[in-house]
């Protein structure tokens, strides 16, 4: 699965770190880094993390790569 975090919106509440610590990490008190391509096995945790985000900053792939990497 693919995710992106709108770090402009993110305010470092760290709910995602609490719920999916393998894919979200804080460096210091507020600076979030994350795995943009979590294992599909962890989809449930990542979806919970996204749902729990107080500012809804986590964007999750809604297509699951259905539209692959078509070129030309």
């Amino acid at each position: 699965m693919r995710i992106a975090v709108d770090l402009n919106r993110c305010q470092g509440y760290a709910q995602c770190v609490y719920l999916a610590h393998e894919d979200f990490r804080l460096t210091g008190q507020e600076a979030l880094t994350y795995e943009p391509n979590p294992d599909d096995e962890r989809r449930l945790q990542v979806e919970r993390a996204a749902a729990a985000c107080p500012v809804q900053a986590i964007v999750i792939d809604r297509l699951d790569g259905a539209e692959g990497s078509a070129t030309s």
Binding site: R2, T27, Q29, E30, P36, D61
Partner: protein, 467 residues
């Protein structure tokens, strides 16, 4: 049929069967495509990108990718809906023929459009000496490939990294180097890191932060040349004060260049600062007259902003790409009076040395700064920027939750110094000069000249200049 009925029929027809071409396959291009489908556009959609990759996210490149936690090919952007587009990836747009309504591609093909969205963004400014830039071990950081290569070089590991330029990218690279325990020297022409974006007062704090983390920071200096060994690998840099630094990885973080060269003969208001457009994303032509079929979004767009005296602002920010694309897409398939403006309050963030730096508004528009919350010593604070008694921007270090408070004040043209938020106030709340450098003059050579003496024939003409 009445005129309004005919127009409505034309819009319906365009939404059903029109041809839209998006040039630029990054964040703005992808979000625009999704928004067009969301708006009910069912015609043909072509997305052109010069890189061979489907749209990917850039912020992780200078952070988790460089650190080696995430691989560069893991940064593909989430897809929010089907876009059913023809993707032309790995081929650059090289020209625009507005009369024939066609985009010219590097492989010689011409793609016809009814409406065009320009979302070509920016690229990294390369080290100016081409021979030195071609040395092994000299990098820039903008694309996925850049990040993958630089990450590999940092993992080697090098004996010392030199970063030229202490803007956000340069500072983030230096931060990652220290996290990887690599010796790093940062050379910055200005008086401190981040000075252009946040001013000298905040720059001093950023400088201390770098030094506390073991960065060898040299400000007020330039790099005059890079020296390679017999194998063509960079080994040494000569600085403007006559000293040298031995380094085997050099990262040139010299800012960005807008990708407008392909528009040179198109007669649009494009140039050094981007492509001029109105707040609805409609491009201006070279005369400053609005076009009806060409739109601009993302880093390359430059539009007047109401809050900043209608100055034309180009914003290289993530949410500007997203929201600008959505507004442009909406306006592409609607008519006046249903146009929407893109009136984003600019905002950006950076994670470096374990601190979350965020800003809202346009700090360089201000000339004074006041610390309003927290403690500078603990690097946990908020500060506001003002101009002529009005708050125009704010910056926070590990104080992001308060940014919205300042954003609201800025949007409502609140007073400067701002009313104290009543929480965590520092003892000294006296405004001081923000110490921004004088705005640089990019060039004395005009891009555009006026032609014709008869008022009815007076036109502007684009003059390409040597680059």
């Amino acid at each position: 049929m009445t005129v309004p009925a005919t127009v409505a029929e034309l819009v319906r027809e365009f939404r059903a069967n029109g041809r839209i071409v998006i040039v630029g396959a990054s964040l703005a291009g992808l979000r625009a495509a999704e928004a067009l489908r969301e708006e009910g556009f069912t015609g043909s959609l072509t997305i052109i990108g010069d890189e061979p990759y489907e749209p990917y996210d850039r912020p992780p490149l200078s952070k988790q990718v460089l650190k080696g936690w995430v691989s560069a090919d893991h940064t593909k952007l989430p897809r929010l809906r089907e876009v059913n587009a023809q993707w032309r990836l790995g081929v650059a747009a090289t020209g625009l023929d507005r009369a024939a309504k066609q985009v010219r591609l590097a492989d010689g093909e011409q793609i016809p459009y009814d409406r065009l969205l320009i979302a070509t963004g920016t690229r990294a400014r390369q080290w100016p000496n081409p021979d030195e830039a071609a040395l092994d071990g000299v990098y820039t950081l903008r694309s996925r490939d850049d990040a993958a290569q630089l990450q590999k070089a940092l993992a080697a590991p090098p004996s010392r990294v030199m970063v030229i330029g202490a803007g956000f990218i340069g500072s983030e690279v230096a931060s990652v180097c220290r996290e990887l325990d690599l010796p790093v020297t940062v050379v910055e022409r200005g008086s401190a890191p981040l000075v252009g974006a946040l001013g000298g007062v905040i720059g001093e704090i950023a400088a201390e932060m770098q030094r506390d983390h073991g960065v060898d920071l040299r400000c007020g200096l330039g790099v005059s040349s890079l020296e390679g060994d017999s194998g063509g690998h960079v080994r040494r840099a000569h600085l403007s004060d006559g000293t040298t630094i031995d380094a085997d990885v050099v990262v040139a973080s010299l800012g960005s260049i807008r990708n407008v060269e392909w528009l040179e003969d198109a007669g649009l208001a494009s140039g050094f600062w981007g492509v001029g457009c109105d707040a609805g994303g409609r491009a201006f032509d070279v005369n400053g007259v609005i076009t009806d079929s060409i739109y601009v979004a993302g880093d390359v767009a430059r539009a007047p902003h109401v809050l900043y005296e209608y100055q034309f602002l180009a914003m290289e920010h993530w949410d500007n790409a997203v929201l600008g694309a959505e507004v442009a897409a909406h306006n592409m398939v609607n008519l006046e009076p249903h146009y929407r403006p893109h009136l984003l309050l600019p905002g950006f963030w950076s994670g470096q040395f374990g601190v979350n730096i965020k800003s809202v508004g346009v700090p360089p528009f201000g000339d004074e700064i006041v610390f309003t919350q927290g403690s500078v010593k603990e690097r946990h604070f908020a500060a506001a920027y003002g101009r002529r008694g009005r708050i125009v921007a704010a910056v926070t270090f590990d104080h992001g939750k308060w940014l919205e408070y300042y954003g609201k004040l800025i949007e409502h043209s609140g007073p400067f110094p701002p009313p104290p938020p009543g929480w965590d106030q520092p003892p000294d709340m006296k405004p001081i000069p923000a110490e921004f450098p004088q705005p640089g003059v990019p060039t004395a050579i005009p891009d555009v000249v006026l032609t014709g003496h008869d008022p009815s024939e007076r036109r502007a003409e684009f003059r390409s200049r040597p680059r």
